[in-house]
């Protein structure tokens, strides 16, 4: 047990990789049944392996738990360093659940090149999980980029008519952002170490390390000018991933062309990586730049909220509508984060999970009807509630969850986020609230057009309702939606220490520099000894 607990993160991260290797080398490509079975079992086991994190994580304990630390590339001080806090645990659980659902929901949707499909889906799982676990910047970056490759293939091979364009656009967009992020990482690294000679920036002279907990501790010493440039580099990387307006143009293409499972993962997990990056790195490591950036990001976020909602309203394609709704929802999350208020950040983090649940489910639902009709146009449908009552019920629950009806998850998240935004700036809150209202409008309008009225289209007369497997892909998400809606306390409890740490670190930046040093000493006591390298001067 001891061993299992110590290696827990390794097991969770690499289990999908093992499954993928098993499929590549162990199973003939004709034997699709075995491939599906192995993929489903691996993804399911991976979720079960992640569940103990929820119970074993101690909110009162050290900031990062389940730590695995070792040397990797000593010449640059790069470590193999895994560890999670409450915030990461929520996203890890979400990722493993959505990976399982993505695998389980693809049985009938994917009929050609089945072997490669499940291999890429599982590899994607390993990449995503590594991102949320890494506490070494280079390790983080490796997983961050590794994940692009399987996603590229999922869109490019099994996607819609414009798949080639969408796939390479997705890849190039995110790659440009992430390589600039790498430059920012290197600048921080050398500032911590010997400094950047030619531009006259003296370093702190600490031992070379990419350790993220260590970089938290030097944050107050980073001069504002360096913070600005590094923030900008990180911002481009994360904002493209979120995606924030005006970097969002890859998203509708990628979503519309991707196969259903790809869209579910893309919306459910990949977009969260951008916001995860802001929460994990930008806020606590670059607090001075963060404070300066708040109004800019709030404005961009508000534009995204309103713009995303308005564009979604004008869509004729259901999938595109859901895709643009993501732009709007992610905008709200960004404004909530940069309100720099405990409620705002908590709400935003919960909203990340909520968005994964409800948008993931909506993509699944759109995919299910697309599988039957090979058409996603709203105008093609009408009166579906009569033909497919179970489907209509699931769709209704998820629509309500997306627009934030009380008793469902969206309400708790949006309400808390808006509360935080309101405390920071009531004007922002007003605009954000308009976005929420618009969200209700376009979702309900779509629901009305698709499900109510008479069945006008002959082709829809004998559509089959959801079978048991299809229902089971949705039931976990419905349960989760109700759980968060009715009893969100365990979620808030687990993220609370992370949010407190972030806000402490941001606030510290505004205080006197000589006080900052004492604060670092206080912080290092709350982190495990291994995570707090020596304080050089």
């Amino acid at each position: 047990m001891e061993f299992l607990q110590h290696e827990l993160l390794n097991i969770i991260c690499y289990l999908p990789l093992v499954g993928a290797l098993l499929i590549i080398f162990g199973i003939n490509r004709e034997n699709t049944k075995a491939i599906k079975a192995v993929a489903t079992v691996t993804a399911g086991l991976d979720f079960l392996a992640a569940v103990p994190l929820w119970f074993l994580y101690k909110p009162a304990g050290p900031e990062f738990q389940f730590v695995i630390q070792g040397k990797w590339i000593p010449s640059l001080g790069i470590q193999y360093y895994f560890g999670v806090d409450g915030f990461a645990i929520l996203l890890i659980l979400l990722s493993t659940l959505l990976t399982f659902i993505a695998v389980y929901s693809s049985f009938t949707a994917i009929t050609h090149r089945v072997k490669e499909y499940y291999v890429f889906l599982l590899l994607l799982g390993t990449g995503m999980l590594g991102v949320f676990m890494s506490l070494d910047f280079i390790l983080f970056y490796v997983f961050w980029e590794v994940m692009l490759v399987p996603m590229y293939f999922l869109i490019g091979v099994w996607g819609g008519p414009r798949k080639l364009y969408a796939a390479i656009k997705f890849f190039l967009y995110t790659l440009v952002g992430s390589v600039l992020m790498l430059v920012g990482i290197l600048a921080l690294y050398f500032f911590n170490g010997p400094g950047l000679a030619a531009i006259g920036l003296k370093g702190l002279g600490n031992p070379a390390t990419f350790s993220i907990p260590h970089l938290f501790t030097i944050a107050p010493q980073i001069p504002a000018s360096l913070q600005f440039w590094v923030f900008l580099a990180f911002f481009i990387g994360f904002a493209i991933k979120v995606p924030m307006w005006p970097f969002h143009t890859w998203l509708p293409d990628a979503h519309v062309e991707a196969p259903t499972a790809g869209s579910v993962i893309l919306a459910g997990v990949l977009l969260k990586m951008g916001t995860y990056g802001f929460v994990r790195f930008s806020l606590p490591m670059l607090p001075k730049a963060t404070l300066k950036a708040v109004p800019w990001i709030a404005v961009l976020g508000i534009i995204a909220i309103i713009y995303g909602a308005l564009v979604a309203m004008a869509q004729k394609d259901m999938k595109k509508l859901v895709a643009y709704s993501s732009v709007s929802h992610m905008g709200l999350i960004m404004v909530g984060l940069f309100a720099l208020d405990p409620a705002g950040i908590r709400g935003a983090i919960l909203q990340m999970v909520n968005h994964g649940v409800s948008t993931g489910a909506l993509f699944l639902l759109v995919g299910l009807v697309y599988e039957r009709r090979h058409n996603r146009m709203i105008a093609e449908y009408g009166g579906l509630a009569k033909v497919m009552p179970i489907y209509a019920t699931f769709f209704a629950v998820m629509t309500m969850s997306s627009i934030g009806l009380p008793t469902l998850n969206g309400f708790v998240g949006e309400f808390t986020t808006l509360m935080g935004i309101f405390k920071a700036n009531w004007v922002w809150a007003m605009f954000a609230a308009v976005g929420v209202i618009l969200g209700a409008a376009y979702m309900l309008w779509m629901y009305q057009r698709v499900f109510f009225g008479e069945v006008t289209n002959e082709k829809n007369k004998d559509l089959k309702d959801l079978n048991l497997r299809e229902q089971w892909t949705l039931i976990p998400l419905v349960i989760l939606a109700f759980w968060i809606g009715l009893y969100p306390k365990p979620f808030f409890n687990r993220m609370a220490p992370s949010v407190d740490h972030i806000l402490q670190r941001v606030e510290r930046a505004t205080q006197q520099p000589n006080e900052a040093r004492q604060q670092i000493a206080a912080i290092t006591k709350t982190t495990p000894p291994s995570a707090a390298p020596s304080q050089g001067e």
Binding site: I73, S75, V176, L186, A198, G200
Partner: protein
């Protein structure tokens, strides 16, 4: 000068003798015996490597031999072994290719060995004259190799362009050397470094000499604006030759480049750095942009190799110990990933110039999943996506430049390396995303030696991507040889 001075030079002497022997054997064999001669050449490289280990290694510290003509140091050993490995892989890759062609293998193998000998001297030269002799030996062998398919127009065209421009650049290089001699009165690298360290006045004859030598070197590594020969030479040359000139001679040229600019000319860093900065930026930008529109895979890889020379130049701009060893690591990683990619092109070339167009790769993943997966790894590595070695190489080089404060140069390089993904992935798109039902893809050559060599490159590319520490350790041990440590 006692005879014992020749002992560390035994590997080179042996290789020269072996080259002539294989040349003679080749003449008597005619067009037969490609595989036997390849093995024989590989054997002589192996013996040379053993000799280097036994007598050619700096057991009691770095020193010079033959009247200060050659260094015996870890830096030289690193690059000698690297270029010999590249030659060995090319020899095994080309055996089947030569068998299928109408040309005799003897001269081919001998020329590869002679070029290797030149590269070894470039790696260890301690005097501008010995460096130049090594460079010319390598270059002359290459000119002939590029034109090896003497009945093919493209091959001839490439050879002539390469020769004329190569001769011109050698002239520039020699002119630079003469200016250096005029200004300092010595050709010995150690003496040049000492003289440059001692003087604190700006000497324009000297600086012009350094710049002209720099231009010569930029030509040899195919950096912009001295790159125009590259696409034609790469396209026209028989593919194994293209594979060879894109890695071995480039690595050797970088060895000489490092030896000169981070060794002898290092005291004048502030004078020449701006030139290298501009060359590096222009090379990275131009190489990557020009590669975007290429439909011929060999031309595309030619521009890609220009771009990679640009990345390596960034380490020279950094001018630090880390810059030095990062370039050494980069050249090793680049050697394996580029050889692997060219090995794949050879695989597709059943005869003549077939299988060179991007469209010839359509639907390969379906028919040959293993081969396509290998090519995917090389493309990812060339684009610098982890967990492949290409990422680690770039990480080191870019780190060294950020540390030296050249952040804008790194920004240019990383953005351009993101751009490079587009053209590398054109091949991936063809292989994986196109069905290739309409146009039949070129059939693959089944050649065990070629498969084995590509497999080796895949292994190294992945292994160094996950665990680069051993190679870094080797390269770092070479740093002290140049006095940067």
């Amino acid at each position: 000068m006692s005879l014992s001075q020749f002992i560390p030079f035994l590997p080179e002497i042996f290789l020269a003798v072996a080259g002539f022997a294989i040349l003679l054997a080749g003449i008597s064999l005619g067009k037969r015996g490609a595989r036997g001669l390849s093995l024989l050449s590989l054997g002589s490289l192996a013996v040379t490597a053993i000799l280097i280990w036994v007598v050619g290694r700096p057991v009691e510290g770095a020193h010079t031999i033959l009247g200060g003509m050659l260094f015996v140091d870890t830096f030289a050993v690193y690059f000698k072994l690297l270029t010999m490995t590249a030659s060995g892989i090319v020899l095994l890759m080309s055996a089947g290719y030569l068998e299928r062609s109408d040309y005799s293998p003897g001269e081919f193998d001998a020329l590869i060995l002679f070029a290797t000998l030149g590269m070894m001297i470039m790696a260890s030269g301690a005097n501008l004259v010995s460096l130049y002799v090594g460079l010319e030996l390598m270059a002359l062998s290459q000119y002939v190799l590029v034109g090896y398919f003497k009945l093919e127009l493209k091959s001839n065209e490439g050879a002539v362009k390469y020769f004329v421009l190569g001769a011109l650049s050698s002239g520039v290089l020699v002119y630079g050397i003469s200016l250096l001699y005029g200004a300092l009165g010595t050709l010995d690298l150690g003496a040049i470094r000492a003289a440059l360290t001692a003087s604190d006045t700006v000497n324009w004859t000297l600086n012009l000499g350094i710049i002209l030598v720099g231009f010569g070197m930029l030509f040899k590594v195919a950096a912009v604006p001295f790159h125009v020969w590259t696409p034609d030479a790469y396209e026209g040359a028989p593919t194994p030759v293209t594979a060879f000139i894109s890695v071995g001679p480039k690595a050797a040229a970088f060895a000489m480049f490092l030896r000169l600019f981070l060794g002898a000319f290092h005291p004048e860093l502030a004078q020449w750095r701006i030139v290298m900065w501009i060359a590096a930026a222009a090379t990275v930008i131009y190489g990557n942009i020009a590669a975007l529109t290429q439909d011929n895979v060999k031309r595309m890889l030619a521009y890609s190799s220009i771009a990679h020379a640009g990345y390596a130049l960034i380490g020279i701009v950094a001018g630090t110990a880390m810059g030095l060893w990062s370039v050494m690591v980069y050249m090793l990683i680049y050697t394996f990933m580029n050889l692997g990619a060219f090995g794949f092109v050879i695989m597709l070339e059943t005869r003549g110039y077939a299988g060179e167009r991007v469209g010839d790769y359509a639907g390969l993943a379906k028919r040959h999943p293993g081969a396509a997966a290998g090519m995917l790894i090389f493309m990812l590595s060339l684009a610098g996506i982890p967990p492949t070695a290409g990422f680690m190489g770039k990480l080191y080089v870019f780190s060294s430049a950020v540390q030296a404060g050249y952040i804008w140069l790194v920004v240019i390089a990383v953005v351009m390396s993101a751009v490079s993904l587009y053209y590398y992935f054109r091949i991936v798109v063809e292989m994986y995303l196109k069905d290739g039902d309409e146009d039949e893809p070129a059939p693959l050559v089944r050649d065990r030696w070629l498969d084995a060599m590509i497999g080796l490159c895949v292994f190294v590319t992945l292994f160094l991507g996950v665990y680069p520490a051993p190679v870094v350790g080797l390269a770092q041990s070479g740093v002290h040889a140049l006095g940067l440590g």
